[in-house]
């Protein structure tokens, strides 16, 4: 049953992604991308990261996609007569490069993980059962990676200032 759910989410994610890159209207593309991100959130839950799934829905589907739709509507790009998809040469190039890339990535998948970096089986489950899914994630975030966490807040501040300055009409 769980396997069926996993494949359902996977197939829907890939189908939505295909529709996202082939729809002519930017609004349709954005909505299909939101669908893809939602399916990926489901995959996160199935892969044992329920909190990241919730954050994915909140941040990506909720905030980032709304920002995209907002900009599309602000610039009034919703109804485009001419397609922005490249011509035959661009399509052939994109397909060939895509096939090469997918071949490379799927070949990489067969590389076995080194035993030196792999945790013993059940280690992650044990940690989650011991500390809870949220604490197991929060402890490294606020201990081991606390410097990165603080630097991220500085980066967000820089992004806020940058976005306001860039979108300002008159500097």
């Amino acid at each position: 049953m769980l396997t069926f759910t996993f494949y359902l989410f996977s197939v829907l994610a890939i189908a939505s992604a295909v529709l996202c890159i082939t729809r002519r209207s930017p609004v349709a593309s954005a909505l299909w991308l939101a669908s893809t991100l939602f399916q990926v959130a489901g995959l996160f839950v199935l892969l044992g990261a329920p909190f990241l799934g919730a954050v994915q829905v909140l941040v990506y589907v909720g905030a980032i996609m709304v920002l995209f739709l907002f900009v599309i509507m602000l610039l009034n790009l919703g109804r485009q007569e001419a397609t922005d998809i490249r011509g035959l040469r661009g399509k052939v190039l994109a397909t060939v490069l895509g096939l090469v890339l997918i071949g490379e990535l799927l070949a990489l998948r067969s590389v076995a993980l080194s035993a030196a970096i792999t945790l013993p089986a059940g280690e992650v489950e044990r940690k989650v059962a011991e500390q809870g899914a949220l604490q197991a994630l929060a402890l490294p975030l606020f201990h081991q990676y606390v410097v990165a966490f603080e630097v991220t807040s500085v980066m967000l501040l820089a992004a806020i200032v940058g976005a306001v300055v860039l979108a300002k009409r008159r500097l």
């Binding site: 996202c20 890159i21 994915q56 998809i85 945790l119 860039l166």
Partner: protein, 98 residues
């Protein structure tokens, strides 16, 4: 448990993102394809975190934060560009100077 299939899905999603970037001319759609690629990598992180430890899930946090900041700044650039050129077609926007 689902490591192999999850990595395959994330490889396919990443490739679709790359194909989208190569296929489209609309700056906003290309931007959305970049978000798709970031998300595919997040899926890889989460899938591998079952065997390599929960640090991978912490990294997904940072990727999401950077993606949010990138979306805000990038869309501000698109708005500034549109105000300047009245288009978001990347074929007509190929100079760095205004």
């Amino acid at each position: 448990m689902y490591l192999g299939p999850a990595l395959a899905v994330s490889a396919i999603l990443f490739t679709l993102g790359v194909v989208g970037v190569l296929l489209r001319r609309n700056a906003i759609v290309i931007f959305m394809c970049v978000e798709l690629m970031l998300n595919a990598v997040n899926l890889t992180f989460v899938a591998l975190s079952q065997q390599l430890g929960l640090d991978g899930q912490v990294f997904v946090f940072f990727v999401m934060t950077v993606a949010a900041a990138e979306a805000a700044v990038g869309l501000a650039i698109v708005i500034a560009l549109y105000r300047h050129r009245e288009t978001v077609n990347l074929d007509t926007i190929n100079l760095l100077r205004g």
